[in-house]
């Protein structure tokens, strides 16, 4: 069984490389087509330029925003405001969801306490309870960080519970037969065995809280990249909206790439459990 799996996973590296190359070409090609289509549509003014700005106008707006900022506030400090909220919330979610999730997976009594609460609020759109959080914690960053924390908590927590339930029982038995005590079993075996799935949970949590962040900033904020886009839409500054959306997209992709890089470095053995 073991050797079968091995031969299955062994792919021809040359073939893989070629496949990757072709797929990269396709990805780049798709974006070139999108950009050309955008350029042509604006060139022939199929839609009003107020609604769909040309690529060149978006680009000049981008440089203008970089230089002068939006409404006197630099674009970097908008980004900083957004990411401060995001990363504080994610750090808080990691610090609580990982231990609670692992414990829930380990002790069914703890799971009985936490799980139903998480299952109840998880499908709720975060903005539904955001109004409550604003009433309770005020309209500034505190309510936003708590909102993002709640959005990020569920995916990390659930990933941890499921990771513990999937651990190869024999990993734990071997460790005990090798002389490991309860504490060592947890820190040397259970925790590392769960890391790949925890990472997946963190990446999902990042995605969820990032979208939540932008929407929250559109509802109630005076700073942040989401607020900038919302404010620009009030004044029909479509070029600013475009710049904002493109920045959000690119930063999202970059952060996910960073998380994936960390994942490859830390859980390099993923898939070999």
């Amino acid at each position: 069984m073991d050797s079968e799996k091995q031969t299955l996973s062994k792919k021809d590296p040359e073939k893989e490389k070629r496949k990757n190359k072709n797929e990269k070409k396709l990805t780049v090609g798709t974006w070139v087509v999108i950009l050309i289509a955008w350029y042509l549509i604006t060139k022939f003014e199929i839609f009003s330029p107020t609604l769909l700005p040309s690529p060149s106008r978006v680009l000049t707006t981008f440089f203008r925003l970089l230089e002068d900022g939006y409404n006197g506030v630099s674009i970097l400090s908008h980004l900083r405001a957004s990411f401060r909220r995001l990363f504080l919330a994610l750090a808080l979610a990691n610090a609580t969801a990982v231990p609670l999730g692992l414990l829930s997976g380990y002790f069914s009594k703890i799971e009985a306490i936490i799980d139903s609460v998480v299952e109840f609020y998880r499908p709720l759109p975060p903005l539904a309870y955001y109004t409550l959080l604003i009433l309770w914690f005020g309209i500034d960053d505190k309510s936003k960080i708590i909102l993002l924390f709640l959005a990020a908590f569920a995916p990390i927590y659930l990933a941890c519970v499921s990771a513990v339930s999937k651990i190869n029982e024999n990993y734990i038995l071997s460790a005990k037969s090798l002389g490991a005590n309860q504490k060592n079993v947890f820190f040397k075996i259970v925790l590392p065995a769960c890391l790949p799935e925890i990472f997946t949970g963190i990446r999902t949590a990042f995605g969820v809280s990032y979208t939540t962040l932008v929407s929250a900033e559109m509802i109630a904020a005076t700073s942040g990249i989401g607020w900038m886009v919302f404010d620009a839409s009030n004044f029909l500054k479509s070029d600013v909206i475009f710049v904002g959306i493109i920045i959000m997209g690119i930063t999202g992709v970059l952060i996910d790439a960073g998380l994936r890089f960390l994942e490859r470095k830390i859980v390099y053995w993923k898939g070999h459990v």
Binding site: S174, K176, L178, G179, A180
Partner: protein
């Protein structure tokens, strides 16, 4: 067959009974098992699949508590797993987040052995399983046979009183399996280990064991014990293949007959 001097009893199983599951939905897995494992023995357990061989091993390891009867190690009841009884599973349970060396050193480290001593131990046993120079490799870079050798070294590193092996070579190809059999025999002889070895391969049992226990189908009972000595000859001749002779075939046929009678019923 050689007459062995009676040695110290390490494991003593009396009237062991094991029931899985709760009332109403329970399975009687083992019944009336009486078995002794003596120091220096190579005990092989044979039986039809599902006969409770693994359950017996898990009880000795301390993973399962007996429903009835007792399971003693050096006179004391076995209450849970500990490092005096090392276990090698059928598919390797090497930890992929640790290097080969760290896997071997896991046991001694857990027992707070001084670091320089741990280094010596892992070097020694990696050499014994012929994996010198593989210490820094990741476990998933190894072949199936190599993995089982690391798993063996990891258990040996604790100098356990008894090594429990649950079909350790069952997932390996025939050639690798023969080499592994020679390796485990040599290690058993050199270290004077005590091994409890589960297999479904009669030839494997005959070429390794000093004693073979044949179990019935479920509920598992011990049908018969055979004292055999082919492994001594193989060790002396330093060979891999058994010299098939009449004695060998007589024992083999009797064992096969016993096992088949269990399957056909």
């Amino acid at each position: 067959m050689e007459n062995e001097v009676k040695k110290e009893v390490l494991i003593e199983i009396n009237n062991l009974k094991l029931i899985y599951g709760s009332e109403g939905d329970s399975i009687l897995a083992l019944e009336n098992i009486n078995l002794e494992i003596r120091r220096g023995e190579f005990l092989c357990v044979l039986g039809p699949s599902g006969c409770g061989k693994s359950t017996l091993l898990k009880t000795i390891a301390g993973y399962i508590k007996p429903t009835g009867g007792s399971c003693l190690m050096q006179g004391k009841p076995i209450t849970g797993p500990d490092w005096h009884r090392g276990v090698v599973f059928q598919s390797s349970t090497l930890y992929p987040w640790m290097s080969v060396k760290d896997n071997v050193e896991f046991g001694p480290r857990m027992r707070d052995i001084p670091a320089d001593e741990v280094k010596k131990i892992s070097k020694f046993f990696l050499e014994q399983v012929k994996l010198t120079g593989f210490g820094d490799k990741a476990t998933f870079e190894l072949s199936g046979g190599m993995k089982q050798r690391v798993a063996l070294a990891r258990v040996l590193a604790n100098y356990p009183q008894v090594i429990l092996m649950d079909e350790p070579f069952g997932a390996l190809d025939a050639l690798t399996r023969n080499n592994m059999q020679k390796l485990i025999r040599d290690i058993w002889k050199e270290n004077n280990s005590t091994i409890f070895f589960i297999t479904h391969d009669v030839d494997e049992a005959l070429s390794l064991a000093t004693r073979i226990v044949v179990m019935s189908k479920r509920p598992g009972r011990i049908l018969k014990e055979f004292n055999v000595g082919f492994t001594h000859r193989l060790y002396k001749d330093n060979s891999i293949e058994v010299m098939y002779n009449e004695e060998y075939f007589n024992v083999k046929n009797e064992i096969l007959g016993l096992i088949n009678s269990q399957i056909e019923e």
